[in-house]
Amino acid sequence: MNISTIVFLLLSLMAVGSALMMIISKNPVHSVLWLILVFFAISGHYILLNAQFLAVVNIIVYAGAIMVLFLFVVMLMNLNADTEPIKNYRMQLVGICTGGTLLLLLVLITNRMDVEQLVETNAGNAGLIKNLGMVLFKQYVLPFEISSVLFLSAMIGAVVIGRKEEPIDQNPNS
């Protein structure tokens, strides 16, 4: 067992373990914190695949911005373990069925994959920012720009929906 296998196993253990803890823990704030750990483990995996840019962007965007907003909302709503609504029996059953089917599908798919071909640690330079930029802005420039327009429209849509009917008057002192 070489060092990258050991690191891979540790990171995977961390990712799966934290993901499980995220689901199990009763307190929503703890769930958010476990989810942040999952993102760190996944960033570790990206580094193993020599995709440094992806790793650091994953940290900046997901762990640094989106999860802060999640935490923000959860803290403001003051969700606690006792205010968690108890789901009824039928809902639990449906959840078990759909979750079990998804798990079954995933296991079947991964079983049929050629694992040797998939895992190629620390090889190739596709993940380095220079090569990534070249591919994104030369080969895939149209889809890239279209997706950025999509983001922009989503942002404007959120602002329009979140806006109150009458704009609030500016404070004359500010």
Binding site: V29, I59, G64, V68, L71, F72, I129
Partner: protein, 346 residues
């Protein structure tokens, strides 16, 4: 990367470098607290601390000892693990940034070329940005775990402030990256050694970056998370003893590191102005380079203090107005102008 192929001395070398860099930033931060009180005293026409040791130089040690000996109180209804995790995270993220900063060129150590940078990763500045964006967790977790509404308000203010100012900071960095064409801090310094400093090309970008780093460090005029007249102590209301010390101390480490980052990005890093380092022997050049970087850094730290004791705190709506309505449009304009300039001149 296999362990067997890595030189064992490389690991040793990096380990020593990490220990030296982290302890140096701790010592600098320690004396920054002393300098802050002295600067405040000068600005307010007082003497400042002068009892412990000659000129009061042992004051930081006395402060540290006092904090260690204070009674440690953990609120009954707080979440204990997170309550302890908060200050630890604040300290960790404050220290982590120093890994990618080039402190000097390299030294010749018995024929061995030792680079004075812990990790020259090709995403250098993005790493700094990532760690800065994680810095908010220490404050938020501490504020929430205290189970106190003032702490929670402080934590939420910190989060919204840091997220708002991160955007303008990121956009001002993009403009800089367009000019340098690299993310590695080391390469940026090498480029600035050859030509002009980046401040010449990016004066507006530097101004935006400076204001945003004030906000990211929670320094006055942006210290709303700990506004004592409305929030008692903000996120650290419930903290006592060395945990409080960690929060206060991490602010000074952040200040030191952001001063170093600003000197590196915009003021040539370890470059000595109007002087060609290549005529010196590498060791002398490295030592002079470190001295140059430290001088620039100290000037910035002084600026941080000067502003703190001169300008009053913003109101919350003013803070948001400045961030979203002034800094972000300015940063966007700067980015577009830089892009047009790069296109025109190349």
């Amino acid at each position: 990367m296999y362990l067997s192929t890595i030189d064992i001395s490389l690991i040793l070398e990096k380990l020593i470098l990490i220990v030296v860099v982290v302890s140096a930033s701790l010592v600098v931060a320690m004396y920054t607290t002393f300098a802050e009180r002295k600067v405040a005293a000068v600005l307010q026409d007082r003497r400042g601390p002068n009892r412990a040791g000659p000129f009061g130089l042992l004051q930081p040690l006395a402060d540290g000892l006092k904090l260690f000996f204070k009674e440690e109180i953990i609120p009954n209804l707080s979440s204990k693990f997170l309550f302890i995790l908060g200050p630890a995270l604040a300290m960790l993220t404050a220290c982590m940034t120093s890994a990618v900063i080039p402190w000097g060129d390299h030294i010749d150590f018995f024929g061995r070329n030792v680079s004075l940078q812990i990790a020259d990763v090709n995403i250098g500045i993005l790493y700094v940005f990532g760690v800065v964006s994680l810095g908010v967790y220490g404050i938020m977790i501490g504020g929430w775990a205290s189970n106190n509404k003032f702490s929670l308000m402080g934590g939420l203010r910190a989060a919204s402030q840091i997220i708002s100012y991160e955007l303008a900071m990121g956009i001002s960095l993009i403009a800089l990256l367009m000019i340098t064409g690299t993310l590695s801090l080391k390469e940026m310094v090498v480029q600035q050694q050859g030509g002009f400093w980046n401040i010449v090309y990016q004066p507006l970008g530097f101004l935006i970056f400076l204001i945003c780093s004030f906000a990211e460090c929670n320094r006055t005029p942006f210290d709303l998370p700990e506004a004592e007249n409305e929030l008692i102590g903000g996120y650290h209301t419930e903290y006592s003893s060395m945990k409080l010390g960690f929060y206060l101390f991490s602010e000074y480490i952040n200040m030191f590191i952001s001063s170093v980052v600003m000197s590196t990005l915009f003021f040539g890093g370890y470059d000595i102005p109007f002087f060609d380092e290549s005529v010196l022997s590498p060791n002398v050049a490295a030592i002079l380079g470190i001295a140059a970087l430290m001088t620039k850094t100290l000037i910035f730290i002084f600026l941080f203090m000067w502003v703190r004791w001169t300008i009053p705190r913003f109101r919350y709506d003013q803070l948001m107005h400045l961030g979203w309505r002034i800094l972000i449009p300015l940063a966007l304009f700067n980015m577009l102008a830089t892009g047009a300039g790069v296109l025109y001149f190349n």
